[in-house]
Symmetry: C2
Subunit: 348 residues, 2 copies
C-alpha cells in the first residue's frame, strides 16, 4: 500500500456525531472547509451507535426525532459544503509544529497538517469492551479476539470459545459451526440472549442437535502451556468451577467509549473531560478546540443542543485563529446574500 500523502487543511474535526457535523456547518458558513475523522465506519457517533431508532425529544424545534433522523438532517444541512470524511480510523498522534500547525496521524497512516483541531469526540471513541482478567491482555490479537479475526475460517480443528449474547457473538458461533468446527462453545452469564429472532432460532437448533455447546457462567481464571493460553476456568451459576480447553477466545461484549489517545495530547482534563473556556471553547492548547459531550466548563450539560452552541462559538474563534488579520462579522442566513451563495440557495 503506498504511503498516503499528507493532507494540508485549515481544520480537522475529530468525531462525526451531531456536534462534529454541526461544526462542519458553522465553519462552512465562515468559508472554512473541514476534514472529519471518525473511529466508526459511518458518520453519526453515539446517535447511530447507541440509539439510532429511539426518539429524542429535546432538539429545539424538532419535537420528536430519532438519532438516525437527526444525523441524516445534519448531513443534509452540511451538504452545500465540501467535507471529506475519513472514517474507520482514530487519531493516533498529534504533534505541534514550529509554524503552530499540528501534524496529525491516524490509525490508517493518514497524515494531516492542520491549523486547527476540533475535538468533537463525544464520550470518546467506541472500542470493543474486553474481558476483565488483567493477564488476558498478553493474548489479545493472538488467542483472544474482540473483533472477527481475519484467519478465523482456519480454526476448524481448534477449540473455540465464543463469549457474549449479542448478534455479533451468536453469528460468529453459528459461522464457526457452519465452517465445520465440531469444538465450538458459547459462553454467557445466563441462558438468555439479545439478538435477532432468526439468529436465536438457529442457535437453539444448533444446541439441540449438539453441534454447539453452551455454558452459563463466567471466566474466572486460565491455564497456560508453554506461554500459550491452554484452558480457561469457568465458574457456573451454581458457583462450581471447571476448566475448558481453548485455543481461541472470540469475545463480543459490546462497545465501550474510551477517551483513547486524546488523553495523551497534553490537554487539561477534569474527570476525563477536556477543560475549555466558554468564549471560544478552546482547550489549553491554542488552536485545539473541544465541543460537545467531551468538554467541560462551569454549568456544562451533556446535551446535543449545547454542543451546537459550542460548535458555533468555536467556529468564530477558529476563524480568528486561522486568519487573525481578518474580521469575521456575524451574518444571518435569513438575510445574507453571501451566506445564501455559500449554501447554494436563492435569496428571496
Amino acid at each position: 500500500m503506498p504511503e498516503p500523502t499528507t493532507i494540508t487543511t485549515d481544520t480537522l474535526i475529530v468525531g462525526s456525531g451531531p456536534t462534529g457535523l454541526f461544526q462542519v456547518f458553522q465553519l462552512g458558513l465562515l468559508e472554512i472547509k473541514a476534514h472529519v475523522i471518525d473511529a466508526l465506519p459511518y458518520a453519526g457517533g453515539q446517535c447511530i451507535e447507541l440509539y439510532p431508532d429511539k426518539p429524542i425529544y429535546d432538539i429545539p424545534a424538532l419535537p420528536r426525532c430519532t438519532g438516525r433522523e437527526l444525523v441524516s438532517r445534519l448531513l443534509e444541512q452540511i451538504s452545500p459544503f465540501q467535507t471529506t470524511f475519513h472514517l474507520g480510523q482514530e487519531v493516533t498522534s498529534v504533534e505541534p509544529q514550529a509554524d503552530k500547525r499540528f501534524l496529525v496521524q491516524t490509525s490508517t497512516g493518514q497524515r494531516f497538517l492542520t491549523k486547527t483541531i476540533f475535538i468533537a469526540g463525544g464520550v470518546g471513541s467506541f472500542q470493543p469492551r474486553e474481558l476483565s482478567l488483567e493477564d488476558f491482555k498478553k493474548f489479545r490479537g493472538t488467542q483472544i479476539h474482540y473483533t472477527v479475526p481475519s484467519d478465523s475460517a482456519h480454526w476448524i480443528k481448534q477449540n473455540v470459545l465464543v463469549v457474549g449474547a449479542n448478534d455479533a457473538a451468536l453469528e460468529f458461533a453459528i459461522q464457526q459451526v457452519q465452517l465445520g468446527n465440531p469444538k465450538v462453545t458459547l459462553l454467557h452469564r445466563r441462558d438468555q440472549f439479545q439478538a435477532q429472532e432468526n439468529t436465536l432460532i438457529e442457535i437453539d437448533r444448533l444446541r439441540q442437535t449438539h453441534q454447539l455447546a453452551f455454558l452459563a457462567g463466567q471466566i474466572t481464571g486460565f491455564q497456560t502451556h508453554h506461554d500459550q493460553l491452554s484452558a480457561v476456568l469457568i465458574t457456573n451459576t451454581q458457583g462450581s468451577t471447571q476448566p475448558l480447553k481453548v485455543d481461541h477466545i472470540a469475545a463480543f461484549l459490546g462497545l465501550s467509549p474510551k477517551l483513547g489517545p486524546i488523553s495523551q495530547w497534553g490537554l487539561n482534563l477534569d474527570k476525563r473531560q477536556i477543560v475549555v473556556d466558554t468564549e471560544k471553547f478552546e482547550t489549553n492548547i491554542s488552536g485545539i478546540f473541544a465541543v460537545g459531550d467531551i468538554n467541560t466548563y462551569p454549568g456544562k450539560k451533556k446535551l446535543i443542543l449545547c454542543g451546537f452552541h459550542e460548535a458555533t462559538l468555536a467556529a468564530f474563534a477558529a476563524a480568528a485563529h486561522i486568519t487573525p488579520d481578518k474580521a469575521t462579522p456575524l451574518q444571518y442566513t435569513t438575510t445574507s446574500k453571501k451566506l445564501h451563495q455559500l449554501l447554494g440557495v436563492t435569496s428571496n
Copy 2:
C-alpha cells in the same frame, strides 16, 4: 374592569420568541411551569414580526425553516406543558420583595408574584417608530398618533396628515377618505409604497380622483397656535419648504425594538445588552436570568441556536434557585421514563 388577581408562580418568562418558547420547554422538563408575557399580540417575537416567511438556514438539523414554521414547531414542542401566555402587554415594574420574590406588573395591570424571571426579550419590545422632531413628543396622543386612534372616525372635518408608505399608513388614509373626510393628505419621502397590491390600486384611484392628496417630502418643522399644533413644514424632494395645515398626524413608520422599561430594573447593562454569566445566564440580580439576543457575555453571538443553549443552562440554574435543597440531575429525553411521562409519550 375588576382588578386582576395577583398570579403566584415559580417563573415568569418575558418574551415569547424562540428562546422564550424553548425556555418553557426546558423548565417543563424540570417540572417548572411558566407564565409568558409578550408585548406583541401573538407568540413568536422577531421571527413572526420581522421574517415570518423568510427561510432560516442555521437552526441545527432544520436545513430550511421559515420564522413562522420555527415558532409553530416550538409551540408544538411545548404543548405538553401547561403554559399561560399573557400577550399584548409589557412589564411596567419589577419590585423585589422581602422574601426574595419579585412583584411584577404589566401594562394591562396584571400582577405576578414570582420566584424567578427570565428575560427572553430579544432586541427588546417592538414599539412604533416615531417622527424624529424632538418637540413633537408633547403632541403625542393628542394630535400626533402612532397607532390608529380610537376617535379617528370623528376627524371628518379636520385636516389629517397620514405619514408612511406601508399597509398600515395606506389603509388608514383610505379609511379616512371612506369616512368622508375631504382633507386627507398622504406624505412619504418618495412616490413609492410598500403595500399589498389591492391597497396600492385603491390609493392610485383615490389620488387620480382627487379624493386623496399626496406629497413627496419630509416634515422639517411645525407651527403652533395657542399651544396646539396648527401646521407642519414640509420640505419636498427639490428642497423647497411649504406649510401644511394639520389637526392630526397619524404616522405609521414601522416598529422599532426598544429595551423599554427593562432598562429601569437595575440590571447591569453593556451597550443596551444585559450582562450575564455563562454558567447560569443569570443577571446581577439573583433570580433574574437573561437569555437570547438581549444578553451579552464574552463570545456572545446573537443566534437563535445560542439562545436555546442559554435557556437550557438557565433552566437548571433556576431549578436550583427555586428549590435549593433538591438536586436536579440531568435526564435524557431518549431514555428517561420520568421525562416521557412529562412529555406525554410512551417509552419504547
